[in-house]
């Protein structure tokens, strides 16, 4: 079901990925290629495994007790599940933004942005200041907060908090950014800002976004993967998936006939 990417560089490749939580198999033999500097959307009904797949890409699914996986995932050629690889290392290369924005409440805006750097040992003030501005500019938040970097992070609106979380993730300079329904808790205006942001970010980052909003997937992504009951049903260019999908299950889901 996977298609070769147009870019010569493959950011992430999954081969025969199976994920189990105890006895329950959540992902069944998923194989796909994600091209570098592209946006890939993952769609599917609830319980289809799309969030689990996303989390497998930065080993976050291991936080669930009794989680295990078989198969392989490579990040720019590196096997992220190799024995000697610590999950911490993977997560610095593959960042994640969550559905509910979660800026750390005891920290200011600037502290939130640099927390990933500081707690990983980077203390040089110049670097921190520079990265703060850089990350906030990249997440289109700089102009709104540049005069109050020391204000508490929770004083921002919902949409701003989410962009702050994006800045926080970008500050560690990951290669890939994973987004788990990043706009589902936001109003339409904030949502559209996030979508514009994704289009900007894809110039420098590879983005994988899980969404239950098909119009959003159609607007924002280059490739779309449709998951159902733990399987990858179809994966291809977004325009094809949404105008003429090859699989009937995809067509039925996309036109709202189930799920």
């Amino acid at each position: 079901m996977s298609t070769a990417a147009n870019h010569s560089n493959l950011a992430l490749t999954a081969r025969n990925l199976c994920v189990f939580f105890g006895q329950h198999q959540v992902l069944k033999n998923v194989s796909l290629d994600i091209a570098a500097r592209s946006v890939t959307a993952i769609i599917g009904p609830s319980g289809c495994g799309k969030s689990t797949f996303l989390r497998a890409l930065n080993r976050m699914h291991e936080l669930v007790p009794e989680a295990r996986m078989t198969g392989e995932i490579r990040l720019f050629g590196d096997d992220i599940y190799a024995r000697h690889i610590e999950p911490v290392i993977v997560r610095r290369r593959v960042g994640m933004v969550f559905q509910k924005s979660n800026p750390f409440p005891t920290m200011s805006i600037a502290e939130n942005v640099t927390v990933g750097l500081r707690l990983n040992g980077i203390r040089d003030r110049n670097i921190l200041v520079e990265r703060t501005e850089q990350s906030l500019r990249m997440s289109a938040l700089w102009d709104e907060v540049k005069d109050r970097l020391n204000a508490p992070a929770i004083s921002l609106s919902g949409g701003q908090q989410q962009r702050l979380c994006i800045a926080r993730a970008l500050a560690v300079q990951p290669e890939v950014l994973l987004m788990d329904e990043p706009a589902s808790a936001l109003d339409p205006l904030a949502t559209s800002k996030i979508e514009d942001l994704v289009q900007e970010l894809k110039k420098d980052y590879t983005i994988v976004i899980v969404t239950h909003n098909m119009q959003q997937a159609a607007r924002v992504s280059d490739q779309t993967a449709f998951f159902y009951l733990g399987e990858l049903v179809e994966f291809g260019p977004t325009s094809k998936i949404f105008t003429s999908p090859a699989q009937k299950r995809t067509e039925d889901y996309v036109t709202g006939r189930f799920g």
Partner: protein, 278 residues
């Protein structure tokens, strides 16, 4: 409905108000500078104070905190962030039981180990026989541990999982996540739990009867008996001397005031502050 609940709320406040009023009425008159600075006078002489008892209470609470806070907080962290389901269940079970053990039982146990006989380890004498401030500190500390552990755990559980996830997703190691993110977020709650525990044991009298024992003079070493406010109040209250009764009231008022002061002080110290630099 509203009037019934309002009446009940008033009823709750009533005993507090009555106790306070009584203490102030009967004890305030005996509070003077001498009360805070002088040692108890011998039987028969009037005047004197509870300076040693006040200091003694602080010494005992300090020791109790030194034992109870680290063990309790770290134990609470373990319960909340690590551990297996089964093991944690047993630990919680044990802690809940210990929280219900009568304080006098704690006193007897520590009496048996540290007071009634020498404590020798590998031939070296660790504890001499006899009442000591250390024994008092130990018993209060042991009582604090399950209390602090459970409240710490509950407060940590209240920290939304989203913060942990976000920190881990940034590639921050688990222990750093716990210390720098989770603990920081829960700090106010943990401090509140600690001082609630301290306030509770500040008034414990029964265990101190067997361990600290009380002292009419200044304490010079942790291996000697030490005075404490609750002990002094107890001794004075059951005595036949009116002067001592008045001093007991004053002592009770001071004890209550102490607890109030500690409460207010720590609330002030843990208020939100955001004037930090990057």
């Amino acid at each position: 409905m509203q009037s019934v609940t309002c009446a009940c709320a008033v009823l709750v406040l009533l005993p507090l108000v009555l106790v306070f009023y009584h203490l102030v009425k009967l004890g305030f008159g005996s509070i003077n500078l001498g009360f805070f600075t002088q040692l108890p006078k011998p039987v028969g002489e009037s005047g004197g104070g509870m300076a040693n008892a006040i200091v003694g209470t602080f010494v005992l609470l300090g020791q109790a905190a030194a034992i109870g806070v680290p063990v309790g907080v770290l134990g609470g962290i373990y319960l909340s962030e690590y551990g297996s389901k089964r093991l944690n269940w047993w630990i919680r079970f044990a802690a809940d039981i210990l929280n219900g053990v009568p304080s006098i039982t704690w006193g007897i146990v520590v009496y048996g180990f540290l007071v009634a006989r020498e404590l020798t380890v590998f031939g070296h004498v660790w504890f001499h026989r006899g009442f000591s401030a250390l024994a008092g500190g130990v018993v209060l500390g042991l009582m604090m541990i399950p209390l602090v552990m459970r409240t710490t755990e509950e407060v940590l559980q209240l920290v939304p999982g989203g913060y942990r996830e976000a920190a881990l997703a940034l590639g921050i190691a688990k222990w750093k996540t716990i210390v720098q993110i989770v603990l920081r977020t829960a700090l106010k709650g943990i401090v509140t739990g600690v001082l609630l525990a301290l306030a509770r044991i500040a008034g414990e009298t029964a265990p101190l009867l067997f361990t600290a024992f009380g002292n009419r003079f200044w304490n010079h070493s942790l291996t000697e008996p030490i005075a404490a406010l609750p002990l002094q109040i107890f001794n004075y209250a059951i005595s036949p001397y009116d002067d001592w009764h008045r001093q007991a009231w004053a002592g009770a008022l001071v004890l209550l005031g102490l607890v109030l002061l500690v409460n207010i002080g720590v609330r002030f110290l843990t208020r939100d502050r955001f004037k930090r630099n990057v």
